[in-house]
Subunit: 271 residues, 2 copies
């Protein structure tokens, strides 16, 4: 592995750190020794702790964090797939100290894997995934637990709504917990929000909750399957990083590069 | 319609009340006038209010309530399907004053439609569906609303767990609210339970919530797709109604009749 890192340094290849969060520090220490100026990314599902670790342990590395949002319920070598990243969203982080050339090198890696590249700050990424990746696992667990508390009769009567709502509760608890623990602070904020909304529903304003949920679901459909606008970003602009972050904030992504121009798509969201 | 009711009375046919809950009283008043001893059932998704209305308005009718647990997101004549009830669970209510012959006549109607018949008291039915039909809609709304509050970036990053968890939030709000309002008291109890579990998750015991949810999901799989035991119930027994209710309580259902014997299946649940 050390010889691979040395070769990466010699060839200026992108080093991809693909280990669980608790193992990141140790890997970064080896990289800082052998390839301190390496082009560096990672695929950890939470970004702020990795950005902080790189600043602390490998501060001279040319780093942009990554999170390919693809996966399967199965794991191990046999679960490998050459098409895993096709059409997936792959977040590449944009921080004030990110170099545009570094960001682009990592984005190009994601693009050749078939993914679309979503630029976001580490903090915005972590806030977003707390709501759309981690909160769904907690609510699925709550629903599965509350349903099972109804006994065999309730489970025998469960249909599509309960089956869909509890599907990810079938995930391995240790994997779910590791994912949630890594993003603890943001998840707690999302849980507080969900608790507030559920509390409102239980104290007489069920209509507001149900209508707000219906609007949220419609917004999901618009962002994911609605009309899209094409856009171009000039990567030589002084505020290129800000423009990338703003594109991500608006639900957009990068589909490729043409010279110094990043080609983008973004959903048309009615005002 | 009145002539149909008169003909039903003459032929001792089963009258099926298939109107929304707010319209039930008026229909029962007409039935009480024209066919006071009618064989009677209904297909309203909540059972205690209908049982109470029958006792009040049509007390001499031979009634067993029904709830065919099938449906689609579309409605109207064009959404009709001859196979809608195949393999669906169809609850037929068992109350202390239910006559076994009445219960069987309604159960046979469900069986010829291709459904399996789940016996349950109206109260137990309402408690169960609050947890597995109504609570899923509220939690889906909470999740969709909390996700959309994360803005377009969050929605662009949403994947399978968020999509599954919010699917029923796409249902028409007025239909969801009508369904929930009809079972308000039981739903509030289920919401309290969910609030408690979510509160536990947000105050440091996420592991307990996630593991309990994983066990709940495994219990669902066992009840719905696990090994089944065959059983027979003697409908001439003095406690036949209690036996039917107990079968339902254990997650079992009736698949047919052989003379005075009801043929049952029930899930094998490990102790």
């Amino acid at each position: 592995v050390d010889s691979a890192r040395a070769r990466a340094a010699a060839e200026d290849a992108v080093i991809v750190v693909a280990v669980p969060l608790p193992a990141v520090d140790e890997v970064l220490r080896r990289i800082a020794e052998i390839a301190p100026r390496a082009l560096l990314t990672d695929v950890v599902s939470v970004k702020s702790p990795v950005v902080a670790a790189v600043r602390r342990i490998a501060p001279t590395a040319r780093y942009a964090g990554g999170h390919p949002m693809a996966g399967a319920a199965v794991s191990g070598w046999a679960a490998g797939s050459a098409t895993l990243f096709e059409h997936a969203s792959w977040v590449v982080t944009v921080e004030p100290d990110t170099e545009v050339a570094t960001w682009r090198a990592v984005a190009e890696l994601a693009l050749v894997c078939g993914a679309r590249v979503v630029p976001a700050t580490a903090a915005e990424h972590d806030t977003a995934v707390a709501r759309v990746s981690h909160l769904p696992h907690v609510l699925a667990a709550v629903l599965a637990s509350a349903g099972a508390a109804g006994g065999p009769l309730a489970l025998a009567l469960a249909a599509g709504s309960f089956g869909d709502g509890t599907r990810v509760a079938g995930s391995r608890p240790e994997l779910v917990l590791a994912m949630c623990e890594g993003n603890r602070e943001q998840l707690l904020a999302a849980l507080d929000d969900a608790l507030g909304k559920l509390g409102v529903a239980s104290t007489g304003s069920l209509g507001a909750t149900v209508r707000s949920g219906n609007e949220g679901r419609a917004a999901l459909t618009r962002v994911q399957r609605g009309q899209r606008t094409l856009a171009k970003l000039d990567l030589t602009a002084a505020d290129a990083l800000d423009q990338l972050a703003e594109l991500g904030r608006r639900g957009g992504w990068i589909t490729g590069f043409d010279g110094d121009t990043a080609l983008a798509e973004l959903p048309e969201i009615p005002a």
